[in-house]
Amino acid sequence: MEEVVKINIDGKEVEVPAGINLIDAAEIAGIHIPNLCYMKGMKGVGACRLCLVEVEGLKAPVIACNTKVRDNMIVKTKTERVQEVRKFVIDLLLSMHPLDCMTCTKSGICNLQKYAYEFELKESSFTRKKFGYPVDAANPFIKRDPDYCILCGRCVRVCKEQGTNVLDFMGRGIESKVVTANDRPLQESECTFCGSCVDACPVNALLEADRWRKGREWEYEKYNSVCMLCGCACEIKVSVREGDIQKINSGAKDGSVEKYLCAYGRFGFDSLRAESRLSTPLKRVNGELKETTWEDAINIVSTKLKEAGKNTCIISSASITNEDAITLKRFATEVLKTQNIGSTISLYSDPKVFKNSGKADINSSDLIIVIGLNLSQWDRVLPAIDAAVRKRVNRGAKLIVINEAETGLSTVASINLRGNEIESIKAIITALKQSGAEIDKQTEEYLSDVREITEEITKSAGMILNAKSPLILVSPELFNAASNLALIKGDIIAVYPESNARGVALMGIETESKSYAEMTDSKYSLLYIAGNVPLQNRPDTDFLIVQNSYMNDIAKNADIVLPVAEYLETSGTIIDYAGRIKHLNRAIDSHGKSKSHREIFREIAKKMGTTLKMPVESEIKKAADVKAKISAMPFEKTKNLHFEPDKFIETLNLTVINNSRLIWLKEAFEVKAEK
């Protein structure tokens, strides 16, 4: 049970968890304590002094953001004394501010504006100071305008906490400024253009670069959804105006270490309106792809499917929703009656892994063990997980990195175990056994010729024993071997490149008899590709159907191309790597005449004489609700997984990268790499 304390805030009695600060406690009581520099989840730094409150028994006011609740504390948040200080602080800030709320893009969500309104400050009572600092607008993602900066340090702290360390204060006193190292443009720093700093900035000092006159906060419709561009499956909040997406922010809860988006998820949406977006069905006429109607396309497809019969093969991507996956599964079994259905999952995992992978919340783990994963925000390999791990470490969690070679996370790990991962796992288990931990009998049988127990191994075992809730994040190929460790203690979660691999596997799209490689290498009379798969050349087949959102290499080689709605144009659910069901909400209409995967499958089925049931939420919940059952496994890598996560993620996202401002990023990094 969590310990609670009783406090009284502005006359309200509340019970709150022990150890939290006064701002969070007041929030529980439904009282807002004004603050500018506080960031939920992080230690209060006391920079802005806006959060001053009075505590009975103390002479001077205290800073609420770094004062912890104590039992029977009596807090007053609105005394004349503290209100006066707050007004003074805002007054001072206004004296160094451009005060152009009428055209300022942040108007409506700016905290300075909000508090100026609250304290009835139209103007500063001090002489206004103008700085005239140059604006950094040399990249297409983020505009930095230091004239608006109130030096709250929120951007500095998010950027540091997630390990990118781009921003910091320069100079001191009134001349201080938040800048990159040596005040260079962002692209000349280690900036990844994740935009975390933009989400953190309370004023107009950090802003999406293209926001000028694209609407302000109150003009947007907001949709909570999920980014499907990689296995992190980040929660997003989409702002829409006049049917178009204006911006995307992180949708994760304030204070969660998962509050992060990479540049792909945040800025890749311009690709939705790119020329290579498919807007109508296409069919091959005299060697060339020509536009056609849905009716015609569906006629052709159903005739071809009938002809091909059992000699049909369907390959799906694992970046489709559960609803699409279930419908596809039904389509294959009820209409086509084929077993030849599989997905990209077999490229990087044994689908069984998803039945055993656990559920856990990284926010509550005090020890994270990262095995065989090369996470990187800079190379955008599961960047949100990289950021979350780094944030947990900065909030006090321990980190053990078990990896053949050095990885980006090595620099922040408490312990790095290099060399063969399997050997390291075996050694840790042996060390745990020596310290008296109970080891599964079967595991013990699999343990053989353990290499020497080094000091680091002993230390790692000690950390595991001392941890309250260890979390193992592992690459799918090492999942089985690492299961033995989780059997002793901790949760184990497989981490992989595609957003809904877990959902697609659990909804029943499994390669029962054949792998992706076998499917693409064998000859079928008809090959049906659903979604974005990393194929460039046309496999050997008589008839190729490609159902995708963009005209890519494989679509160019198809006989029929069916346009699909993108994830931002679809509703549905996915199951993320940590086993959570996440909801997508359609933010904008599907492009042109494109339709969702499930609509297309249902229409073809209908044409072929079967009405497919619509997937319902309860069946998804049921399919998702597998009890993870880990058991002792031989200490071996799963064989035949040939994939390099960084290349794979890049290939999957190539259409999005090449058709949006992300291309700038790719080019800028290539230039940097040459240097």
């Binding site: 921003l167 910091d168 204060f169 320069m170 100079g171 001191r172 800048v179 190292a181 040596n182 720093s189």
Partner: protein
Amino acid sequence: MKVEEIDVDNEVGEVSEILSQNEKTKGILIHVLQQIQEDMGYLPDEVLRKLSKKLNIPLSEIYSVASFYKMFHFKPRGKKVVRVCLGTACYVRGSKKVLNMLENEFGIKSGDTTEDLTMTLETVGCVGCCGLAPVATINDNVVGEIIGNKKLEKLIDDIRE
């Protein structure tokens, strides 16, 4: 000081054992920066980058720490560091004109250094010789009563010398 050769424990000295690695590297940062500036006259970007790797302190943080102190410079310094006093007494007696003249003559703005590294031009508040206003200093030597063309020409000659 060669960044590659920095031995953190040695720099920290006796208290080395009670400090974490992080505290140690942060502790010696200022000292190391001072050494680098002494050797090279300023803090070159490449050297700070190496230092960032070596001490495992983010580059942005190194710049942040260094920029807190006026004594650190991020650009090469001229052979002559000229400071024109903009204190009240000097200002009243026309030191702004002296500054503008130097800016025009050398084609740089206050705060910058000429390309050939002849001089760095800066401004200061009162240097404590108000009786001699308007005042400038060349490498900490005071030049007073810079009034009239003759005095100005002399000042330029002294800088060029």
